[in-house]
């Protein structure tokens, strides 16, 4: 058995496994750090991630009730300002008023837990139950591809499994659930993925089987899709190339890219006097 008893699955680590089992092993089981660049233009990439962070914070601040004009007047990046204006225009269109920003939910997945960190969950009593995710990447995927992404499958499944506490203690009927992606770089285009009982059951089976497979697999093979390795930091560790791929071709998820800076405030006792 590969997984420690306290292992927690997420859309991120499951997607990594599906993309490349070896990547999953290195990143989550061996916690291997490897200092390669994800893309060729790291300066632009870094800036893009910072913009994404700034935008997500703005939305959270707005949802917390900070005044729009105060927030808007402090944006010093034209692109972020455009995204924010687009979000103000339609980011919350048809979004129920009961809202839980930056919500974390967990559901059981076999012997383990499955955790989802959602940008926003909004529920209409007796009506729609939405999971919203703000996307700031340049690339807007085809709907059929996005439907297969683990994020789409995991978030809806977790809300169906663990959303009762947001719904007066009643489990949320799957047919009320919808996953909605909102694309900042595409003037607030939206991809919607409704849910139903069949899909819920299929997701449950798929996710449980996947977890069991990960726990029992004897070897974590490298992905057969070698083009993925260009955007993987482990490529030189796996002898899968030297140069990173082009930022223009990067289709990854900004949520799973660079780690945020660890705050070493809590490591105060590490000071050597």
């Amino acid at each position: 058995m590969n997984l420690p008893e306290d292992f927690v699955f997420s859309q991120g680590n499951l997607q990594d496994y599906v993309d490349c089992p070896r990547r999953f092993e290195l990143k989550y089981l061996r916690r291997q750090r490897w200092p390669a660049a994800e893309v060729d233009d790291m300066a632009a990439f870094e800036r893009h991630l910072e913009q994404g962070d700034q935008f997500h914070r703005l939305v959270q601040q707005s949802l917390l009730g900070l005044p729009e004009e105060t927030l808007r007047s402090r944006i010093n990046d034209d692109e972020v300002a455009r995204w924010y204006d687009a979000w103000l225009a339609n980011g919350l269109a048809e979004v129920p008023a009961q809202r839980w920003p930056e919500l974390t939910l967990t559901a059981r997945l076999g012997k383990w837990l499955l955790l989802a960190k959602m940008d926003l969950v909004a529920i209409e009593p007796g009506g729609a139950a939405l999971v919203l995710d703000w996307k700031t990447g340049r690339h807007q995927p085809r709907p059929e591809r996005q439907a297969q992404r683990l994020q789409t499958r995991v978030y809806r499944y977790v809300l169906a499994e663990a959303g009762a506490r947001l719904n007066g203690g009643e489990a949320i009927d799957q047919t009320r659930i919808e996953m909605r992606y909102w694309y900042a770089q595409h003037e607030g285009d939206v991809l919607r993925f409704p849910y139903d009982e069949d899909q819920y059951k299929a997701d449950g089976r798929f996710l449980r089987d996947l977890a069991r497979e990960i726990d029992s697999c004897e070897v974590f093979p490298l992905t057969e899709e070698v083009r993925r390795c260009r955007f993987c930091v482990y490529r030189s560790l796996c002898d899968r190339g030297e140069q990173p791929g082009s930022l223009a071709e990067w289709e990854g998820d900004e949520d799973m890219a660079l780690p945020t800076d660890a705050l070493d405030i809590d490591a105060l006792d590490e000071i050597a006097f």
Binding site: T70, R74, A107, L115, R165, A262, D264, I265, E270, F273
Partner: protein, 697 residues
């Protein structure tokens, strides 16, 4: 899980009340707290409404691990965090509402968080020149970095204790009864602290002290910000309250009345982080705000023999020892070494017994800890190499060496100097040879030196073909020459002014970790270089914002050489959960809050057990809330503080020991000096109590 009746009062009952839970370490307080969280979840409390506050991340690990292991729905969602992290979250979210009132000069710009590593750099940048100009700290014989650390520490204490930073110098001076020269040094410390604070405000730099200051003065009084926490987290649990600071205690005075339930956990006879502002006395005063007080007094961790040992040592230390544990034999819980004259013999003895426990008695390596008052590089290295030889897995909460001392990092720093001649920091020939040795697989020191001698010219590397002597070419071999050329041509293509972090990352990935090169599949080297990349990236991002004209590369390389930057630091995701024998300073182990079966106490004769670290610019007692203004710090205070510290550490260790303690003693210490420190004396005195205690059995 089996719980004692008193634990059940906390864990399974009174879920809507505020409880003050106290007792010695190892009596099951944290266990009861973790069970309470599970019970709250079972009772339908949303995990997002539960907050567990701990003084530092490491103290939170037992909570996180236990909650995750329970696999109870919602258990992984419960937040376990520190005041510092909450403060930063609040500041980032509510900055637009408070910026204008913080004193920061750029309220429309975002705040910047330099972190510990960069605070040292900023201290040097903002204060270093003034120290030189005004000849501050004349007569103080500590390194510049330690001096900076203590200035930062003074600012932190002013924020955490809650007095104005302008009072640092006067408070320290008023307690000083020695020469007037030292009193001037406190003036210097005040001047530097004020300069640093002013510079931080000028540049929106929120170091830890300013963060806490803003939390107290701006965020907590703001209803939006305070309510963000108090409305969200209705069920509070605070562990190791005695190790936390007056700022947290003040916040709790406001917060507790608004909570639906609370559990405050207090370790009696602790206060191990006093040097970081912990205030056990104030922590205990929060008991008055709780509905119910529960005291756990039955040992859960210590065996009856260790409890007898604890009893004897407590009596020796003049602590309340309680009744002698029935059936306990303290002598059975302690191993004295044979006659060890020299320090290396003590290390050999230690490793031999650790290996015996692991290999012959099937003790899990994670159930053994080796502690010392300090864990300097030499001691750690000696232990690690000997444990490796005996096949004993080990781990260390602090890395063995500063980042800049790792060979792969030194190599990268040298190649950066070669690739960026504009920085004007050409390496010397010896460093070039060492770097080539690290970078090229199968290259030996002699050939590396030959390459450097023949091809390192005017700050750059010439191609292999520049060696005209065919015998020398053959001696080095064309195969190695080809790799050398590949490396050189890569360096020649590096764009001028490429940021250092990107250079490190690309050179590592595209050259050094490729087949045929020195770091190919070297996983530990990858982790080390990742830390270097982080350090360089953080530095670049901060410095380019502060001073767009600055020479980032040259500054970074200089700061690393001077030891200001790239001292390894622990990242949260690296917090050690591995299985080996833990090698750690005693304080680090104590704060990890996990008992083990076997402990090895090294350098028992060292005076570091029970003596304050030499900190001429700061003072944890004088800068606390309890110090009477104008009172002098006397020798008797120093002695009492030392005795208290020794008792807290030694008894605290025993309370976290289940089976046996091994004492590592040598007549002569690491520096060849005879050592008879207070712990050794206490243990000798304790033997008398152990003998007489036997009669109680």
């Amino acid at each position: 899980m089996y719980l004692l009746v008193k634990q059940q009062q906390v864990a399974r009952q009174n879920l809507d009340r505020k409880i003050f839970l106290e007792g010695l370490a190892g009596t099951g307080k944290t266990t009861a707290g973790i069970e309470r969280v599970k019970q709250l979840l079972q009772a339908g409390v949303p995990p997002s409404a539960i907050l567990v506050l701990v003084p530092q991340q490491a103290t939170g690990l037992p909570w996180q691990d236990a909650l995750r292991r329970s696999r109870a729905p919602g258990s992984a969602e419960v937040r376990v965090t520190t005041l510092g992290t909450l403060a930063r979250e609040l500041l980032e979210l509510f900055w637009p509402l408070i910026a204008a009132d913080t004193g920061c000069a750029q309220p429309l710009a975002p705040p910047r968080f330099p972190g510990l590593e960069l605070s040292q750099y900023l201290m040097r940048r903002f204060v270093g020149g003034e120290i030189e100009r005004r000849d501050y700290f004349r007569g103080v014989t500590i390194s510049r970095n330690r001096l900076y650390t203590q200035i930062v520490d003074n600012l932190n204490k002013s924020a955490l204790v809650g007095f104005p930073p302008e009072e640092i110098g006067s408070r320290l001076k008023s307690a000083w009864r020695g020469s007037s020269e030292q009193a001037f040094i406190y003036d210097d410390a005040q001047a530097c602290a004020s300069l640093f604070r002013a510079a931080c405000l000028r540049h929106n730099l929120i170091d830890f002290s300013l963060l806490i200051d803003i939390l107290r003065k701006n965020l907590w009084p703001l209803e939006n910000a305070r309510g963000y926490l108090t409305r969200r987290y209705r069920h509070l649990l605070v562990d190791n309250l005695e190790e936390d600071t007056p700022t947290l205690h003040d916040l709790l005075r406001d917060w507790l009345p608004q909570c639906h339930s609370a559990l405050l956990i207090h370790d009696n006879e602790a206060g191990l982080r006093r040097f970081l502002g912990a205030d056990p006395a104030q922590a205990h005063s929060l008991r008055a705000l709780c509905d119910l007080g529960v005291t756990l007094d039955r040992r859960r961790a210590m065996s009856v023999d260790v409890a007898a040992l604890h009893h004897a040592l407590a009596k020796t230390q003049g602590r309340e020892a309680g009744p002698m544990p029935k059936g306990g034999n303290g002598r059975a819980a302690i191993r004295w070494p044979g006659r060890a004259r020299w320090h290396p013999q003590m290390i050999d003895w230690t490793v031999e017994h650790v290996a015996r426990l692991v290999h012959e008695e099937d003790v899990a390596a994670r159930e053994i800890v080796v502690v010392a008052p300090f864990m300097p590089d030499a001691l750690r290295f000696a232990l690690q190499t000997r444990l490796d030889e005996r096949g004993v897995p080990h781990r260390s909460h602090r890395p063995s060496r500063a980042l800049r001392d790792e060979p792969e990092v030194r190599a990268l720093l040298t190649f950066a100097r070669l690739a960026q001649p504009a920085a004007g920091l050409a390496p010397d020939r010896f460093d070039v040879a060492s770097a080539l040795l690290s970078a090229i697989e199968d290259l030996d020191p002699i050939r590396a030196r030959l390459l450097a001698d023949a091809l390192y010219r005017d700050g750059g590397l010439l191609p292999f073909e520049h060696i005209r002597d065919t015998r020398l070419q053959q001696r080095i071999t064309f195969q190695l020459g080809e790799k050398y050329d590949r490396l050189c041509s890569w360096l020649a293509r590096v764009p001028a002014e490429q940021p250092l972090d990107l250079f490190f990352s690309a050179f590592f990935c595209e050259v050094m970790s490729q087949p045929g090169f020195g770091l190919h599949r070297r996983e530990s080297a990858g982790a080390t270089v990742a830390n270097l990349v982080d350090s360089a990236r953080n530095f670049r991002r901060l410095l380019t914002e502060l001073d767009p004209e600055a020479s980032v590369t040259a500054d970074y390389l200089r700061m690393v050489e001077e030891g200001v930057l790239a001292n390894q630091y622990l990242r949260d995701w690296e917090l050690d959960r591995s299985e080996g024998v833990l090698l750690a300073p005693a304080h680090t182990f104590l704060m990890s809050n996990r008992p083990v079966d076997y402990q090895f106490w090294l350098n028992v004769g060292n005076s570091g057990w029970g003596r304050r670290v030499y900190q001429p610019l700061t003072h944890p007692w004088v800068l606390s809330r309890h110090w009477e203004p104008g009172r002098k710090w006397l020798d008797a205070d120093e002695e009492a503080a030392g005795a208290e510290s020794l008792a807290n550490v030694a008894l605290g260790l025993l309370r976290r020991c289940r089976k046996r303690v091994y004492l590592g003693i040598s007549e002569y210490g690491e520096r060849g000096m005879e050592e008879r420190g207070p712990l050794l004396l206490a243990l000798h005195n304790m033997q008398h109590h152990l003998s007489s205690g036997a009669a109680d059995v």
